[in-house]
Symmetry: C2
Subunit: 336 residues, 2 copies
DNA sequence: ACACATATTCTCATATTGAGCATAAGAGAG
DNA sequence: CTCTCTTATGCTCAATATGAGAATATGTGT
């Protein structure tokens, strides 16, 4: 038996950019793994404990190698460490601990390196995009399937608990939709078996993979909502989206995704893309302008139809004045 | 050479309770380590990759063993992984990755197990307590030392950068104090050498421990602000306090620290203890009552001086109605 | 000149927040 | 029993923030 490390630290990056009003992430192809070959995955790689000085540096190296992209703003998301999170552990592989990061970049054309590509966020989590109203997939697929799951609860109390959980997660039964609860929603869909990963990872008799509180067999394994990813990468993506939506409120991170100057409409569309909501245009403008987040440059954009818009830039001073300034997403709008 | 793991996953817990209007954490004594013997440390222990099913379970086991305390609400904080974070790495120890958790409990008397004890949070971070106004140590020790550090910057631009950083961290030069920036503040004090750990860990000629952006020798090694802890445990504590202060705003976590029924004053004092601020009593009451966070029980508290206060309980329904409800700490008050 | 499209400015009703006054209800001193 | 002290609770008022939308400005293309 050769000496192999008992533990492997995996580093994963959710690399986000917004282009054409779509939030995108950088994905790579991944041919191995006992599941379906050639799944999409997050750029990732193991830490070399002897060489890598910091986790961020190691991550940046893997991303550079796999996608050619250089990371700027990077933030740690979460560390996942459940046993058998990576099915290779069952085959004698090391215990995998995976540290997920969120990175924000301005989308750059990929130099065709490897199989890296930009993918729309909502291909993976289609129920998160409310920009055109309540998403079809929620109404049509998720709600009925959840209702079946609720009803299948064992006893009155269990049904009530399940209903409360479903209502809170998906904004039903009078509960308002909460854009930041992305991970909770994915987790529920996973447990219920509504996403492909839930079915794939379920204990087909093995018995130990049931890591959730209740070991549920997937009940609606016919549904495959959203595009799946390798391992738990879609779960990581859900964490990232939730975190980013929350962060928008109280930190001016949005400017990491924008060019140096931009129109207020581009700023708004970028926020909307991430928030998955429409905002009231006039009020949004008031918020960012009076909030001191941006300042006009005096220059105008080349006309694209109507009256030309002024170009703005991020007001760096806001970090001194209101260190907790964000673009604040108070309410949602139906129309444009 | 015996087989030793190349990586060790350390699990640390910042276990918080509030008693007598003081936020406390559970600390243990720790006799080893190449530094000062018998330092205070967070309850912690390594993950057993072959046995522990989840990170939380492993953590709970170590905490139980070292303190006898059973964890309830647990939340992951951050994963630290810089090389040589643990100085034993230099002596051939495994690469240490440390995952920090925040746990909230109701303070229970310790059954004398081991050397566990409750310690006031602000013994370690005295500049964070503004309940009696701007803390003395900030005015008297930190501000002047930081000013010296700022002036020592190499060149005009460096001085300006340093000043901005110091101002933002510590609410000087017109910048308002931000209670959540706890970790940034500790980090700055560490780099500048104003806390004992900064001096202890500094590269005394070795040259590789300088992990910050600038490899600063500690400049004010005479000062020892606050009580130090083992390794980077005080940094972890700072992360925990910052996170908890932030979380109070948008999640009703405060009730994890309170008994089932409580007066509004106790609730307020508990929030104040964590926030390190005084709040306006009438407005606080309005906030939590109208916000639907609590409901009266009709019972009164045994008199402790003035008019008896009504006992309230947490309104669990708020989780359905406003899933993002917190106690909101809008502004600070000078008086009581 | 005219329709069209988008940008920008204002207005207005309604919450929310910050601050402080006023009143209520107990305990203890005289 | 009354006065004073103490804490609880209720209420007012101004300032500010938010949600919604009307009105006006300034381009492009016909």
């Amino acid at each position: 038996m050769t000496a192999r490390p008992a533990i492997e630290i995996g580093l994963n990056a959710v690399i986000v950019a917004v282009t054409d009003e779509e939030p995108r992430l950088l994905a790579v192809h991944r041919g191995d793994g006992p599941g379906a070959a050639n799944e999409l995955a997050l750029p990732s790689g193991p830490l070399d404990p002897a060489k890598d000085r910091t986790l961020e540096l190691a991550l940046g190296g893997w991303v550079r190698e796999q996608t050619g992209v250089e990371l700027g703003y990077v933030e740690q998301l979460y560390t996942f460490g459940n046993r058998f999170r990576d099915p290779r552990e069952r085959l004698g592989g090391p215990r995998g601990i995976s540290i997920a990061y969120l990175a924000l970049v301005r989308e750059a054309p990929l130099d065709g390196a490897a199989g890296a590509s930009w993918r729309s966020w909502y291909d993976f989590l289609p129920w998160e995009d409310w920009r055109d109203g309540r998403p079809w997939v929620l109404e049509r697929e998720i709600a009925p399937a959840l209702e079946r799951w609720v009803r299948r609860g064992a006893g009155r109390a269990a049904v009530a608990l399940r209903r409360e959980r479903a209502d809170i997660c998906f904004g039903q039964g009078g509960v308002p939709w909460n854009g930041e609860r992305v991970h909770d929603r994915f987790e529920l869909l996973y447990e219920v078996g509504l996403v492909a990963e839930g079915y794939r990872d379920a204990p087909h008799g093995t018995g130990d993979a049931a890591q959730g509180a209740e070991a549920l067999p997937p009940v609606d394994s016919g549904l495959r909502l959203g595009r799946p990813m390798a391992l738990d990468h879609r779960r990581i993506l859900a964490s990232a989206l939730g975190r980013l939506r929350g962060k928008l409120r109280y930190r001016p991170v949005i400017f990491e995704l924008l060019p140096g100057t931009f129109t207020l409409l581009l700023l708004q569309r970028t926020v909307e893309a991430l928030a998955g909501l429409r905002l009231h245009k006039q009020n949004f403008r008031r918020l960012v302008e009076q909030g001191g987040l941006v300042e006009g440059t005096g220059r105008l954009e080349a006309g694209t139809g109507g009256r030309p818009a002024e170009l703005f830039r991020f007001r760096r001073d806001v970090l001194r004045e209101r260190p907790a300034a964000g673009v604040g997403l108070p309410g949602l709008r139906s129309g444009g």
